[in-house]
Symmetry: D3
């Protein structure tokens, strides 16, 4: 009897899309205004979805306070009010597209959760553009 528990969080960050091995022209051709040199930014919305069996004593799959604190410590503190390209080490060699960010977040959280729990992460870059990763 498996139930999925979803928790929403958010962080506000700056980024730009840029392949360092490409010329400026190529970056603008591929990424358009997302490659704007002085960065732009987003209110990223995050949905962390954890699937597991219900603990009969607590009626919970996972204590939401623990999940909330985990997201705060491992994601929000690292990403909120940061420049993803300059301040967040995961993007030293990775373009901070929504796709790459959601994989990074999944990898971070996966290590923190018991192996019997399944994990899915959805990341909204804007209300109209979002991505999902399940490992």
């Amino acid at each position: 009897m498996k139930v999925t528990v979803h928790r929403k969080a958010h962080f506000n960050a700056a980024h730009r899309l840029c392949n360092k091995s490409w010329s400026d022209e190529k970056n603008i051709e591929v990424f358009g205004k997302c490659s704007s040199p002085n960065y732009h930014g987003h209110n990223y919305e995050l949905v962390v979805s954890v699937t597991g069996t219900i603990n009969q004593d607590t009626g919970m799959v996972i204590d939401l306070k623990i999940l909330k604190d985990l997201i705060y410590e491992k994601i929000e503190k690292e990403f909120d009010h940061k420049n993803l390209n300059l301040d967040v080490s995961y993007f030293q060699d990775k373009i901070p597209t929504a796709e790459n960010i959601v994989v990074v977040i999944w990898d971070i959280l996966r290590k923190e959760l018991s192996s019997h729990l399944e994990l899915e992460v959805t990341l909204y870059e804007t209300p109209r553009n979002f991505v999902t990763y399940t490992g």
Copy 2:
């Protein structure tokens, strides 16, 4: 050619999280303010998702008026403007966590639907905390 039809509904209810076999201290330690003795409450939002093949005469998987009435009769009338702990028999011996509520709702609706239809239920306790059950 299977399509999923989703219908949103809602009910407003009071509850508290409390394992009756535990001391007050243990309940507060585990459930925190969710165990507050005089109850608190939520605007629960419900998404009922039914998957099946499209009837060629009607172009529908299931008549939405029938699904809407079913949710009203079996869920909203039972749960809306109620105290889940005191007024709803399903939670006599079950802690009304979102996880347990979504399983109860799924069980109720499953009995009412033809066996060739698949069912998933998502329950929002708040816009930031929600759960999904697929049986």
Copy 3:
């Protein structure tokens, strides 16, 4: 040059509508299921709107961190995960309708803000029912 700054907050609470000087029959006649004896509840959403001139050094009307902390200390701590009828002293002799709650919240916050700032409070009981008070 006056600008209005809006800050959203929320609290989850139980309540029931009941005029203590009336019979049960009269209460049910007037308040319907909102008078259900064992309480029901809501995810209340709050918008606190403060109007004033922009401080030229900070570019702000009011520091949002200060406003956020004020709402937390004076409103969320008092109302969140509470039974408004039983746990919140303001409603000892006042029916906790959305109208009465919004006036209580406005009165609490008004005392905490400089007199040169104007205040408006909007309270959502549900996404479809909400109230506004400006003093």
Copy 4:
């Protein structure tokens, strides 16, 4: 390492539900006010979800500008500000229920996408009624 990229779009259209081989009485019995003879309409919201592997050079599954333009050219231009029954050829012989519309949209987009990409489409007829098709 597969990621799903979601893009939201919308179109505003009129329609009515009517099986041409049925009497007016039968249509009203089955479809109710949705069969109202002079049409009614909706703000349709569309979520197009494309799953594939991340291109290491771009950090993308699919260029969102290309996906956005594809949805505009193939869906929005065909459906927006139209009468689905009278103006859109796909519904000459198909009742424009949400179920049938989502299958038509999926079929159109499927032809335009590389075969190594998976496709899911969700269509909101209203915020409370929506459908999903994955082929």
Copy 5:
């Protein structure tokens, strides 16, 4: 001590923008695709805002059940699942722009409310286009 009570409602309708005294060319020039001959449609969202003093016995400005029923009887039954141009008499000689619709709705509701209550109506044609009228 005046409080404003807001109630949300909705209706789904077809319409087209067309000045009958103009040529087709002029209508298309002015109204563009909104003048598309076979109609298009919207999920109209309505916010009815009533301002008055709080009744000390009930804690209410106006009974929301009465307001909800009034909106249903006078607005939703008249406008929902209708073609505004063809089925709704108010638009025999009036172009059903959002501006004209909101004034019509305000006029209908104004007659039904006590004169000591103030009225404002907001009408969403889409989430991005909306209008407000206060008389």
Copy 6:
């Protein structure tokens, strides 16, 4: 008979809050993480509200296509995918707080609108923090 027409738009931008005449310490003390040196960013949502009388020939206060194009030309093209501190001349000597941004936007749009139209602008920095300016 005055009606207000509202149009929503959005832009994604990077910024930081920083008074250039202050020390880093003072900036961090006053602006906290909003002063983070490498910028962060937001999905800004804009509501432009124009009040005027309804033109009897068109049923409109202002042609929404014209208003939409005006917002695109004067605001979105200037602000979208930009660094407000570095790329937008208005903030050479002005801290890009939400308060200052909304006044700048209002000033730009005010010049473009006929003097018989009234203007209000609301700017959402996040769904929970927003500001309104009416001149």
